[in-house]
Structures are given as C-alpha cells and as structure tokens.
Point group: C2
Chain length 230, copies 2
Amino acid sequence: MVRMNSVNVGAGDVSSVAPLQRTALHDTLVNHLRDMIIEGNLAPGSRIHEGHLGEQLGVSRTPLREAIKYLASEGLVELVPSRGAVVKRFSPKDVEDMLTVLQSMEELAGRLACEVGSAEEIAHVRALHDEMLDKYRSGDRLNYYKLNQAIHTAIVQMAHNATLSNMHTTLQTRLKRIRFVGHEGPEKWAAAVAEHEEMIVALEQRNKPALSEALGRHLKNAWERVKDGV
Amino acid sequence: MVRMNSVNVGAGDVSSVAPLQRTALHDTLVNHLRDMIIEGNLAPGSRIHEGHLGEQLGVSRTPLREAIKYLASEGLVELVPSRGAVVKRFSPKDVEDMLTVLQSMEELAGRLACEVGSAEEIAHVRALHDEMLDKYRSGDRLNYYKLNQAIHTAIVQMAHNATLSNMHTTLQTRLKRIRFVGHEGPEKWAAAVAEHEEMIVALEQRNKPALSEALGRHLKNAWERVKDGV
DNA sequence: ATGGAATATTCTGCATACAGCATGCAGTGC
DNA sequence: GCACTGCATGCTGTATGCAGAATATTCCAT
C-alpha cells in the first residue's frame, strides 16, 4: 500500500543539482507487475511462473519474488503455500466492498479537503477539471479517464493525510482493472461530467457536506454505469 | 495489508482429518517481525540488519528479505535503496492521520454492522463486552485491552466487508504500538467503559447513526485520553 | 479403455555465493 | 590544522544452486 520511497541520497548537494533517481530492481518490478496485472497481461486467477516470468523480463527469481511479496500485501496477488502466487480474482461482492470503502474514503477526503485545502490546490483541481471537459468535448476517452482519476487523486491529496492517500491509491489501483472496462454511452458519460461539475463547485465553495455527498454519489453512480460491463 | 492466506492444501483429504498447517518461512517471519516491531524489540528509526537478524532468528537472508518487502507494503518499515530497511517512525501527525481514517472506517463499519450483522454476531459482541466488564471490574488491564480490541474487530467483521476488515486490521496493527502506551487513570477508564456500553446498546437496537456516532466519539476520546503518553 | 499407482518432471522455497554500493578511516596535500 | 581523496570493510542487491513438494506422465491392472 505504501509506495516505496526512492530516496535520493545526495551526499554533498551542490546548489540545485537534481539528485539522480536510484531505483532497485524489485521496486521497478513492483510497478511493472502492477501494470501487467492492471492491463490484463497477467490474467486474474492465473499462476505467476517465477521461472518463465523472470526469464521473460530478464531478471532472476529473487527480486521477482520480493516484488510478488510486496504485491501480495497490496492485495493484487495471493500467495498459496508451495504453489506460488496467483493473480487475485475479485468477485462482484469484492468489488462492491472495495467501492463501499472507497466511497467512504472519498467522502472523508472531501470533508478534509474543504477544511485544509489551499486556494492553490483548489485552483489546480479546477484546472484539471476544465482540461477534462476539453477531453470530454473532443471525445478523447483515454485522456478523459486519466484526468478523471487525477482529479479524484488530487482531491484526496488535498486532505493532507498520508494514510488516506495511500489506502485510496491502493484501492483505486485494484479497481482500475475493473473501471477501465467502463465505456459508458453518451448520456451516462454526460451524467458523469455533470456530477464532476457539481463536485468542483462544492469544493470551490468549501461546502463540506455538498462535496462529500457529491463524491459519494458520483462513485455510486459510476459503479451503476459500468456494472453491466464487468 | 492483506494477511497472507495460509491455505491448507490437503492433497487427498481423508474424511475429517485436520489438514496440517503448512506455513512458509517468509510468512512466519512476517508475523514475527510485525510482533517485534509492535513490541518495540525493533525500535522505530532503527535499521534492520539482514545478516544479524537472520542469524539471530536462524534463517537465511532470502525469506527475511521477502518478509521485509511485505511489511514495507504494509507500512511498518521503509525501504531505502542500497541501505536496506528502516523501522518506520510515526510522527504525531501520522498518528492523527491514521486515527482519522480509522475513525471513518469504524463509523462505516458500525453502519454496515447494523444493516447486515446477524443476531448471533450481535450476541457475540455483547458477550465480549460483558467479559470485558469483568476484566474492568477486576482491574485486569491487559485482558481488558485485548477484549477491547476484539470488540472493535468483531464489529468491523460484522460489516462483512473483506477490504474494510483488512484495512482496519492494518491500521489497528500500526497503532497498537502507540495505543499500548495508553494506561489511563481510573476516571478516564470509566469513561471509556461507558462509551462501550453505549455502543453495545446502539448495536443491539441496530441504531445506525447512534452506533456510528458512538464509535467515532469513542475513538476520538481514546486518543485524547492517551495523547499525552505518546 | 479406464482407473489408479508409481515415477518423472517441474516449480517453489530456502540457502549460499558474488558483485556493487555506502561508509568510515587513514593518508596526503594545502 | 583542515579538507579532500583513495582505500578498506561491511552491507545490500542479485544470481544461482539445491532440496522438497506439487503436478504431469506413464505404465500396469482390471
């Protein structure tokens, strides 16, 4: 759940020289595997073959295994003793459960954001929103989707609560696999955009209950909209 | 965050022979290290020396490293590239953040428990509560504490939401290190017990808002009570 | 032909070995 | 006397090797 810190160890930092980003192999693998799972390259329910996968990626089994353990804790894979790791398969009930928690988190984040978010942060979210509207108008679904996610993430970030951010990210990641399926029709899409507009307004007014309620409703509706596609 | 399943793989399960509990070393280590961290055997901020620790526990570095990666994802340790793992140190702000999220989760759990909890489950919680009262009256702090935790866990369990349970457990574990410090005085202790009584009543009446509110207030107060001790 | 047992194979789990990076210390130049 | 460089040491990160479990295969019996 907590993303690993790629701490930059600049011994004697000279003025403003950017310290180079060091990355351990197992860390890289965590991200790579996560992407593979989300994008479906590693199908749910399928076993992860350390030997093959390692060879395919050009790494030995050790860092690969370490990455798998990390993802197991994140809930993306399941560890079966003596049989290795399996990409976790989520039942509809699992997904509903996650959404319930995610909704609760976003509602909390909304309230906190209204309290402690800075004017700059709010402006930033507004900017993202406007950009998203552009993508909506031009029918650019992929970038619409990305900005959509970015907005939700930004609002959670505004709560300035590290634990909340981490857990939200974890859930959002798990659900990405599901949500990506959601290619809703024009009218549903319009409804989603309208909800976003509501959210932004509530945020700009720092209207806690309104934002919280809008976020909750938005998520609930988002699920209703894509439900059939799962 | 998700506890590893120690799945019992009985190849050819004969009638009702208890399948032997297979446990992988890295899994065992996860639990062991977690306990060590919670109990303070591994001090916050201290580096984890793979060589020494492994020798001390009688295991090689490989499963130890795997366990560390798992705990890193859980947020109990931090991975520093090329310098290994460090037991995470939580700032007061971190603790407050965790409690904010924990509170939100318990409130949610309370609402769900009122909805979907069975009568048996409610009776079970009541039993735990009565037992806890016994410990309170006899001044048995340790068992009081354990039952206290058990009650909160049981209520969350009643929500029948796996994700919520897992995340709640993760947070509760992280905070255990902190909460254990809480040796409050008699009057504060009495207040905590009173709050619990309130919770049970609300649960038995399936009074959603009341239970949710009581849980939230209880946690907030619990924090106020032990705050100074941190 | 089919079910089952014995065997062969494959894969996981753990240990060990090796390479590279971090850190502390001594030595040298200013 | 101070700072910087270069070396030595220790630890992390990765690869490989080996033992045991799980699974696939084959062969025999019915």
